[in-house]
Amino acid sequence: MIPATFDYVRPGSLDEACQALASDEDAKALAGGQSLLPLLRLRLAYPSTLVDLGRLPELTGVHDRGDHVFIGAMTTHDEVMRSSLVNSACPLVALTTATVADPAVRHRGTFGGSLAHADPAADLPAVVLALDGVLVARSAEGEREIPAAEFFVDYLESALRPGEILLGARIPKLGDGWGYHYEKFHRTAQAWPIVGVAAAVRRSNGSIQEARIGLTNMGPTPLRARAVESALQGAELGDQVRQACEQAAEGTSPSGDLHAQPDYRRHLARVLTHRAIRTAAGSP
């Protein structure tokens, strides 16, 4: 299928980009386009203008900022998963990114594009949420920080305002003693995850001190499994962890669609959270 017509601008600066997006409410940022292009081709999206963020060097790259890593919005998935900084300082981001789509899509698709698209079935939003990432947006009015917990507003809706572009995200470094895992459950390698669980776990002396859990596709936005997180505090590996993970579906509102019904998704959230925690805790 063929996209409908649109105008195209490739701003040379962030200011120009913000201006282009602000001046037209039907303008849309093009951040790699791996989700947007199929929507355009199916004529489900009719932007008036695409503002291509692909040639703004200030939006790409991974930067060590002391207590956190800043990942530029236009850094491709491929670059993120290969970044030694991301692999060492926020491994959960790296290993989850490696599960996004397929190699060719990872060459074009971007970290920020995936977050701004705010698809609850996408892998990265749950990870950034679990890690308490902070998204940094910029508009003509200046920069704004948006905690991940406030960024994902609804199905395909982020907190970005018209005229605002995502600069990237700050991913806090969790420091030593943490283990990580992203448990992705999909029917075929290409399929959207039915459920995904991103877990970061700090473990010592055979018990879990702290856990951060993000859930993919368990509601219109990515969600934290807060009940499990608190139940895991101090939990011994084994039955206590198992029991804690039974609460993984609390506070979720998964949808029912062609690929799974809500009760099955809730069940999977419990099973996969347990698996993710066990793996993250290094206890297979």
Binding site: A4, K28, S35, L36, L39, L42, R43, L44, A45, Y46, P47, H117, A118, D119, A121, E150, V153, D154, Y155, L156, E157, A159, W192, G219, P220, T221, L223, E250, G251, T252, S253, S255, G256, D257, L258, H259, Q261, P262, D263, Y264
Partner: protein
Amino acid sequence: MAMRFEHDFTVPVPIEQAWAVLLDVERVAPCLPGAALDTVEGDEFTGRMKIKVGPITVTYRGSARFEDVDKDAHTLTIQASGKESRGTGTAAATVKATLSPADGSTAVAVESSFNVTGRPAQFGRGVMAEVGGKLIDRFAANLADLLAEPAHEFPAAPAVPVPAEGAAEVPEEGPAEGPVEGPAVVEERHLSAVPSPPDQDIRPAGTLRTSRTPDEEALDLLEIAGTPLLKRLAPVAGAVAALLLIGWLIRRLMR
């Protein structure tokens, strides 16, 4: 793709007052988020509706009319149908409202059904299923607000998030491979999404709600639904206050 919803709520105004408002299409139509009225001729009216979900936009043009208006029973039905302004798809809706007196207040029952065809209906991750439930929820909430509008001050809403577990959920009994799910089960809760019986594989998310503050909800509505309703209400109490009321109503009704 068909979706069916039922909403029950009570508005603190006498039945005749509520009935009069209900018949005022220029006020009722914009209760549907994203809808805008173009013409009104007797019981027939035309308009547009823009549904925007993230980058996805579907715009319908169409017409609607009142049917089966029974002023004694206080029931009416609105039939609406439209076509995508750019694609081939269609949308049709039937909204049946029944008013009954309840202690000086009015109990309102709204049964709505939607049928969407064309590209938006042709995906497994249903675009329309995601949005349809929310849309009709908001229609009902807006309608509740509209019917209550002239009567009372707006009570302040508690700034407590809506607990998601208490939200209406899609009934989920029956294995996926079961041939046909039994008749729709309307549970005790007042807001329910009722899946069409043979269609259980793709039933919509219905009225799910996440833990969000009323402010966020307002923001969300502004983004998704466009602005007609908010513009209309602004002179009365301000958009946010109006939405606070909606949030309050929903929570109260879900108890």
